[in-house]
Each structure stands twice: as structure tokens, then as C-alpha cells.
């Protein structure tokens, strides 16, 4: 009998240290894995191969792409905007955003997620849970470190080859990449452990001693603190998300990823007539999801500034492209009502409005919030002299392509069978998913490039109006097609 068998499941706080008999547990685990995999000596061959491929890809594709990007971005423009304190602030914001994303990802699917049968038959045994789970944590940690190192290498090499800086940047870039990779891996595990504790104790259950960014330094007790139901929940969610993505069932994916709403339950929706009640619904939904509201405001604010700035001659087109991608994500935060309508398309109606009217009604709140954000952010930038009046108007009108993209996304439905045809690969599936994102990004970037060119500048506003109209029309056509698709 393993000494760990006598240990009770930790109920709260730091789990008790097992009586040291890890060697026995390791032998038992190796035997169990031998039964599962059919091999007596299991290495980490697959992981090593993945690292090998990642290194090759970083060298063969990453570095050339990186240096091309830096050449395209215009070294002078980068030096003006990203040097000194501005660069430090931008870097810090990026790292904090990455860490926040890793924590959120950990709450949905952390690094320690073995497959369900392994959890039910091996992790449920009396073996030391750290010994049982450490393989997944080590893979996650290695992934973070290798990813950070390669990212630092690719960015540093790109900067050096594009002669933005000297070759000496390679060393700090790699070191910084390693550090960020380590922190991201820790944040990922922190997110998983914190979420598991929150499920057990509730939102107001206090701070768990095993959470925090230093969790990778105390991985042993952190892994022992993970309960089986929490591990099973993440494993099942992982399967559902994977299946949902492959089948194009994005509703299933969203429901798995989203946190359940519990806020402001006493605030009631009031009836104000058919369409206004629908608009109030969307506003109330955002009030109950302040995180979504704020994320949308931050992303849309950044996008609005980027779009207004991109309207200035001499600014690289990639700024408009990045702003549109960020804007798509920002406005998308406010479009839950629209997505829910898409989810319900084809079912017996509960809402007494036509599908088109309902869809247009769901665009009111995102449009108003985007306009308000743009006026506030770009208005402030205008006073500071950072953008022009034309830039502010340009950012405002960009709401049309962005909303067209949201309509297309909410009503994209299931991918056609041709996407899964043999030989098409994952690229065609990814492209199918990305069309609602790419369409406004391509249209918006193209018309912004027209605006800043000396030859086509005068035609750009008309092109933007036509492009926006076409995208919204395309989106509304998707509403009709998906609403009617079931009848056949």
C-alpha cells in the first residue's frame, strides 16, 4: 500500500505533504501508463518532436516574416512610437494582457488536463496526485518556456535583420521571452487552480494559498490541491470545445467558455414596446456582465484611436488592419444578443419580431457604445492634436464594416460539408471561421490605404460607405439564409 493512500483529500488550504514514497507511486504510474499506451518505456518523444518542428518553423518562417513585418512597419515610425517610455508602457500593457489572458484560459482549460479515462482510472487511484499530474504541468511549462524563447528569438532576429536595432537585441529579447513564457505558464496554472477553488468555495470563499503567479514555484502542492471533479470538468469541457470547433457549433464553445451570469439579478427588464425592450435586453445583459462591457470599451477605444490615427498620411496600413481586428473583437463583446438570435435561428419563434428587425435591434447597443467610445477617445486625442477631424469621422464610419462582420459571425451557421472534404486540411476550416473577421479587416484596411494615398484619397469615403453597406447587406443576407435554412 502506498503511503499516499492514507492521505485524506485536502479540503481547504494547502494539501498535506504525503509520506515520501514517491518512488513506489512513480513505478505504479509507469505500469499504468504502460497498460494505457502499450509501451513499457514511455518517453516524451511527441513533445520533443513538437519542439523540433516549432524551432524549424520559427527559423524557416518566423524570422523572415518578422523581419519583413518590421521593414514594412517603417523603422522611423516605430522608433517614434515605440521607443523610450512609450515602448515600455506598450510592452508592459502587452505582458499584462497576456497574463490576464493566460489566467482566463486556465479557468476554462488549464495546463493540467489529462484525458477523461486517465482521470477516472488513474488520477482517481490513491497514487500521489502530483506524480499523476506532473507530466501535463511539465508539458505546459515547457511549452511556455519554448514558446517564449522562440518568440523572443523571432522578434529579436527580425528587429536585427530589419536593422531597426543592432544584433545585441537578440540576447535581451530571448531572456525577456523566456521570462514572459515562464510567467504565462504560471498564470495559466494559477487560473486553473483558482477556478477549481472558486467552484469549491464560491466567489467569496477567500484567497487560496496555492494561487498566485508564483504557483510554478509551488507546483507540487498546487497539483495536489486539484480535485477530481474540477479536473474532470476541464477535461470534458476540452472535449466539448474541440468537438464544437470541428463541427462548427460555436454556441457550444461559447457556453463552455463563458462564465455564468449572477450579477444584478434584482434589476428587471422593463417593457418599452417590441424593439426598445429588445434594446433594453442588450443593455441589461451588459450591465450584468461588466467585464464584457469594459473589455469591449478598452478594445473598441484602442481600435477607434488606431483607426483615427491610421487616417493620417504616412501611417502604415498595418495600423488600420490591427485596429480593425481589435475593433472586431471589441464590438463583438457587446453582441451577445445578436449571437443568441443566431443560435435560435430555425427554432419555433418566441420573440414576436421578424428575424431582420430583431437582428437590427440587436445592433443598436453595439453601435451606440462604439460611437460613444470613439467620440470620447478620439475627441480627447483630437484635443491633444494626435488625430485629425477626418480621422475621427473615419473611425466613426468604420462601425458599418465592423457590424457587418458581427452579423456574418452571429449567423454563420454550420460549416458546409466541403470544408471537411478529404485533403482540405485545417486551413479551409480556419478560413471559413475567419471570413467574418477578415471581410471587415480587408475592406477597412483597403479603404484606409486609399484615403492616405495621394491618388485615390478623394474616392476613399465613398468606397468606405459602399464597402460598409455591402458588408451589412451580406450580414443581413446571412440572417435570412440561416433563419430559413432549416426548412427543407
Amino acid at each position: 500500500m502506498s503511503a499516499a493512500e492514507s492521505l485524506p483529500e485536502p479540503l481547504t488550504g494547502v494539501p498535506a505533504e504525503p509520506v515520501p514514497d514517491a518512488a513506489t507511486d512513480r513505478r505504479r504510474l509507469a505500469a499504468a501508463r504502460g497498460v494505457i499506451t502499450g509501451e513499457q518505456h514511455q518517453g516524451e518523444g511527441n513533445a520533443v518532436y513538437v519542439v523540433y518542428v516549432a524551432v524549424i518553423a520559427a527559423g524557416a518562417y518566423g524570422v523572415p516574416a518578422s523581419q519583413s513585418l518590421f521593414r514594412f512597419l517603417d523603422p522611423q515610425w516605430m522608433a517614434d512610437h515605440l521607443s523610450g517610455a512609450r515602448g515600455l508602457v506598450a510592452g508592459a500593457v502587452l505582458v499584462v494582457a497576456l497574463l490576464a489572458l493566460a489566467v482566463r484560459a486556465g479557468a476554462v482549460r488549464g495546463p493540467v488536463v489529462p484525458e477523461l479515462p486517465y482521470l477516472d482510472h488513474v488520477a482517481a487511484s490513491p497514487l500521489d496526485r502530483y506524480v499523476v499530474l506532473r507530466r501535463w504541468w511539465r508539458l505546459g511549462l515547457t511549452g511556455g518556456l519554448v514558446g517564449g524563447l522562440l518568440t523572443g528569438l523571432v522578434v529579436g532576429a527580425g528587429l536585427a535583420i530589419a536593422q531597426v536595432t543592432g544584433p545585441v537585441v537578440l540576447l535581451p529579447a530571448v531572456a525577456l521571452g523566456l521570462l514572459v513564457g515562464l510567467l504565462v505558464a504560471g498564470a495559466w496554472l494559477h487560473g486553473q487552480v483558482h477556478a477549481a477553488v472558486t467552484v469549491d468555495r464560491g466567489r467569496h470563499g477567500g484567497v487560496h494559498p496555492l494561487t498566485g503567479l508564483g504557483v510554478f514555484l509551488r507546483a507540487r502542492p498546487a497539483l495536489r490541491g486539484l480535485r477530481l471533479p474540477a479536473l474532470r470538468a476541464q477535461a470534458a469541457r476540452s472535449v466539448t470545445i474541440g468537438g464544437g470547433v470541428l463541427a462548427g457549433d460555436l454556441r457550444a464553445v461559447r457556453l463552455e467558455v463563458a462564465s455564468p451570469t449572477t450579477r444584478a439579478r434584482r434589476t428587471r427588464l422593463r417593457a418599452h414596446g417590441p424593439v426598445l425592450t429588445l434594446v433594453s435586453r442588450d443593455a441589461l445583459g451588459l450591465r450584468r456582465a461588466p467585464g464584457t462591457l469594459v473589455t469591449g470599451l478598452l478594445l473598441s477605444g484602442a481600435a477607434a484611436y488606431g483607426l483615427a490615427h491610421a487616417a493620417t498620411p504616412g501611417v502604415p496600413s498595418v495600423v488600420a488592419l490591427a485596429a480593425l481586428l481589435v475593433g472586431y473583437l471589441g464590438v463583438g463583446q457587446w453582441c451577445e444578443g445578436l449571437r443568441m438570435q443566431g443560435d435560435n435561428a430555425g427554432t419555433p419563434p418566441l420573440i414576436g419580431l421578424s428575424a431582420r428587425t430583431e437582428a437590427v435591434g440587436h445592433l443598436v447597443v453595439p453601435t451606440a457604445l462604439y460611437a460613444l467610445t470613439t467620440l470620447l477617445v478620439d475627441g480627447a486625442a483630437l484635443r491633444q492634436g494626435g488625430v485629425s477631424t477626418l480621422g475621427v469621422a473615419w473611425a466613426l464610419v468604420m462601425v458599418a464594416p465592423l457590424l457587418g462582420g458581427q452579423l456574418m459571425a452571429a449567423f454563420r451557421g454550420l460549416p458546409p460539408a466541403a470544408v471537411f472534404a478529404p485533403g482540405r486540411g485545417i486551413g479551409s476550416t480556419a478560413l471559413w471561421y475567419a471570413v467574418p473577421l477578415l471581410a471587415p479587416a480587408v475592406v477597412g484596411t483597403a479603404v484606409t490605404a486609399m484615403l492616405t494615398s495621394t491618388v485615390l484619397g478623394a474616392q476613399a469615403p465613398l468606397a468606405l460607405v459602399i464597402g460598409g453597406y455591402l458588408l451589412v447587406t451580406w450580414g443581413l443576407r446571412r440572417v435570412r439564409l440561416l433563419t430559413d435554412a432549416h426548412r427543407g
Binding site: 457556453l255 445583459g285 419555433p348 418566441l350 432549416h486
Partner: protein, 222 residues
Amino acid sequence: MSRSAKAPRKTGPEPTLVADGVSKSVDDMPLLAPVSVSVAPARCLVLRGENGSGKTTLMRLLCGTTEPTTGRVTLSGRTVDERDPTCRRAVAALISAPTAYRDLTLIDHLVLVDATWGRGEGADERALELLALLEIDHLDDRFPHELSSGQQQLFHLALVLGRPAEVLLLDEPEQRLDTHKRALLGHLLVGRKQQGTALVVACHDPELTEAIADQVVDIEPA
């Protein structure tokens, strides 16, 4: 294919919803053999049949969300098609669990549904009254994900009963309900029938069937 009416059709008003020789096949796979049924205002037709016999498919045909392979479904003489606003206005259906807004409470859902049908003042009161009728008014500020499976079913019933309709189609509305709630549902459906609504209910519960049915049709597998 035989179709047996277990109870004789009572004389009464002209049927409003008529399925005449409808069947459904997909890629030569028969889902529903040809069948004819009809229901008049203030009457209730109960569909029975073993699992897989095509009751749900017939319900989908009756509410116009899918098209029959043969035959025709009409509502007051007009072909039933869910895309037709007149049809949507007349037919309410609970065939599978409707998607709920995860950021709205039960009372919010009912107010939203009520308001979008343009029923005017009093949406709050009507919503609360309906929740009380189903004995879930104490759950009014719960979110859908905070309900048990039986409470979810009552909530789904409330959503469908909360909108105006001339014809009400319910696919196994008794599922996951306890004995008391099934009796309550029967009482509620009889009330709707007395108000003039035509009911078509697929049901496996003999007591509920006894309570609400004016006509019973057994659907046999295709």
C-alpha cells in the same frame, strides 16, 4: 399504414390546423409515414406513439419549421410555413428546449417575450402571473443555469405559454415534471383550451392525456 383514433372526434368548430396525408423522408430514410390529423379551436389533439415513431417530426411539420415530403399542412386554409409572419403569429411550439439568454432572469425572459408581441401595458404583471400559475414565481430572479431540470422544463413551458397563439404545439411537456406539476400542467392546458386555443400535444402520460385530450391519435413507426 394504420392510424387509429382512440376517441371519436367530437362535433364542433371547423378545424384550424390540418395535416392532410403528410409524411417526411430524408435521403430515402422515412421519418414519418403518411398521416392525417386536424385540430379545431378550443380542442386538444394528443399524439401518442413509441419512441422514433415520428411524433416530433409531425410536430415540426405542424409548426412549419420543416417541409413535408408528401401532403400538406394548412392553418385556416393557408399553407403552414414558419417563415410566414402570419403563421409565426398563430403557432407557438415547444418542441425542443429553446435557447435562453444566459444574462436574463426568468422574469426578464417573460417580459421580453411579452413585449415583443406588442401586448401593451402590464407585461410585468402577466409574467409574474404566469410564473405563479406554474408555481415557480419564487424563482423569478434566477438565471436559467440556476434551475433544476424540472424547473427548466417549467420555465420553457412558461416561455411558450407567455406568447399569444391560436395553436399551441407541445412535445412531451410532462417530461421531468413531478406528479403534482403534471396535474398543474393539465389544469393550465385545459384553461388555455377553454380560452379557445387549439392544442396538439405529444404525450406519454395517461393521466395528463385523460385530462386534456379531446382526440387521441396513435402514430405508428414509419
